[in-house]
Symmetry: C2
Amino acid sequence: MNIEYHLDRVDYDILRLMQENARINNADIARELGMAPSAILERVKKLEQKAVILQYNAKINPAALGQKLLSFIFIRAADGIGCATTGQALAAIPEVQEVHDIAGDDGYLVKVRTADSAALVELMRSSFAKIPNIISTRTTIVLETVKEEQKLVIPSEQQE
Amino acid sequence: MNIEYHLDRVDYDILRLMQENARINNADIARELGMAPSAILERVKKLEQKAVILQYNAKINPAALGQKLLSFIFIRAADGIGCATTGQALAAIPEVQEVHDIAGDDGYLVKVRTADSAALVELMRSSFAKIPNIISTRTTIVLETVKEEQKLVIPSEQQE
DNA sequence: CAAATATAAGAATTTTATTCTTTTCATTTA
DNA sequence: TAAATGAAAAGAATAAAATTCTTATATTTG
């Protein structure tokens, strides 16, 4: 889990291609970067082993699975500082995609996907209500998602 | 972009495996599901073509690229209804990972990754300030991310 | 019930990944 | 400055996987 691993230009180029299309094959990366496949393979393995690349995900259309509603919920909790039980309880709910411990208000911001508003209400009644430390929640409904990428800014043709 | 494409159990199983590891190969999916590789291949292509699978991403450790600060920013904008220019302007900023048009307050919720708070301030001064319709912003800093997955809930061993 | 269509299986071919060996290049040391 | 050392990459050979093509088996449709 060494995050102070030194990345060079070739590493950045590999990350850029992988971020665009995680199913690109080794030989295509090599062709694109003008290198030997064996060199690319070693680097990819090292990037995985050093936890620079964490995983490879297929991004699935939520609507195709009938999950048409996206919501962000602010949750105020009575946790002590450093006591992460509420966050972990929230993270254990499958419909909860993200849980962030946020500054101020002893709160969490969670991102939830459900079929519709009825399913959201049901989820909050069944799952959220069972988490003891939750004091209050404030739900924000998403009308339309304009952008949703996990892509990071990768340094370009200059520094190492 | 047909989202009313009918998915059966095998499709769900493929999506489940792909969601876990997008770099799984065709033959391994086939082995796992006890089917022929050719059958799997056809289905994966169809899932892509029907926009059930949108893309394949490598999830990169933000800290490895020096992007240690995650923030959510609520943005109040003076857009007319249906006029999505502010959202599109926000989406064009590389550090902005997500832009959601939210109910109430004529606002957007955006997710931003920067190196640190200084870089966030600089980004808001340089990029956000150039977007004319923005009235006000409220920034929420993430102290710790407990969960961050794009994985969707996939129906299990029962209905089609 | 027969024809048409869709789906899957199996074999053959092409492509890709992996391993191993050699070469190159940079760094160190005498 | 020249030889020695080590790291990285290239290239060839092998193993594995993907793709295509043909054939078979259900499932619909007239």
